[in-house]
């Protein structure tokens, strides 16, 4: 009697863990429609125009209203101290791409976390000022961030080795001169 329940239990656990292993795989994604990460930069114009001076931040890191504000003329004139100018056509292409792939407009799980951490009346222009981002980075010693090779929290690629793939998973974090970090 006991053996029956034991073997049933073992089979159940076996199936459970077998299925768990698919949790982050494409099989799971196929059924749930949900993808991990924040999405990759797929627009070559965006990659070029917005990835020349800094890391090409994925559209899924901010909500549509943030991108819309950032692309307004008065904001472009003072884009974090840089004066940007774009032809109308270029501007429209960039904004369309950003809005269509923004947090809240895609089915990437981590992108949704960014979006969910914001209140509707908040329109951050800095990814580093979103509640989700702050929560994820607030225990890191300042000296790890301020060291020469990293500089500041906007330099994602310095520590997130798969940032350019839209993958900010702990597993792939390698802080220069420090190593792995898990929160």
């Amino acid at each position: 009697m006991f053996k029956k329940y034991l073997s049933a239990g073992v089979v159940f656990l076996g199936i459970f863990y077998f299925l768990q292993s698919f949790a982050d795989s494409s099989l799971w994604e196929y059924f749930s429609g949900n993808k991990s990460g924040v999405g990759e930069v797929k627009n070559s114009l965006y990659k070029e125009e917005c990835g020349e001076c800094h890391f090409a931040f994925q559209a899924g890191l901010l909500p549509a209203r943030s991108w819309q504000k950032m692309m307004q003329d008065n904001e472009l004139e003072n884009h974090f101290e840089e004066s940007l100018e774009y032809e109308l056509d270029t501007k429209k292409q960039l904004l369309d791409y950003l809005v269509n792939n923004s947090a809240g407009n895609n089915n990437y799980r981590r992108s949704r976390k960014f979006n969910d951490s914001l209140r509707m009346n908040e329109t951050p222009l800095r990814i580093t000022e979103t509640r989700y981002f702050i929560r994820k980075h607030n225990e890191i010693p300042k000296r790890f961030i301020q060291q020469e090779t990293v500089g500041n929290l906007a330099n994602c690629e310095a520590c997130h080795t798969k940032a350019s793939r839209g993958n900010y998973d702990d597993d792939y974090v390698n802080i220069p001169n420090v190593g792995k970090w898990e929160d």
Partner: protein, 129 residues
Amino acid sequence: MKKFILAMMVSLIFSLHSHANQLDFQKLYESWAGSSLFSPDASLGKKMWDQKFYKGRSCSSCHTNNLNDSGLHVKTKKIIKPLSPTKNAKRLSSTKKINKWLKRNCKFTFNRECTLDEKINFIEYIKTY
């Protein structure tokens, strides 16, 4: 004789090809100058390259003072490919890009647009690499 003519034709074709992508700098400078006079001076460009301006910024802050080297954006730490047209064939190959970056970077570094002479001298300095 035939060989000579053939050699001349081949070298003519080669010489044409090597200039095919060369920007017409005179034309570019004239487009900036309008009716003003200018006299290009790479050494003045080099001199200004290291000088500190707005918030202590200089051209060399990001581009270093050896244009064969890669640079680093002071704020974002993004790697900037060498400005040397010899090391980096894309440099000084597009009027549009030259105009874009001179405007943006002069505003960032000097908090104003560069003057006609400054722009010309910077291009002339970059050409020396």
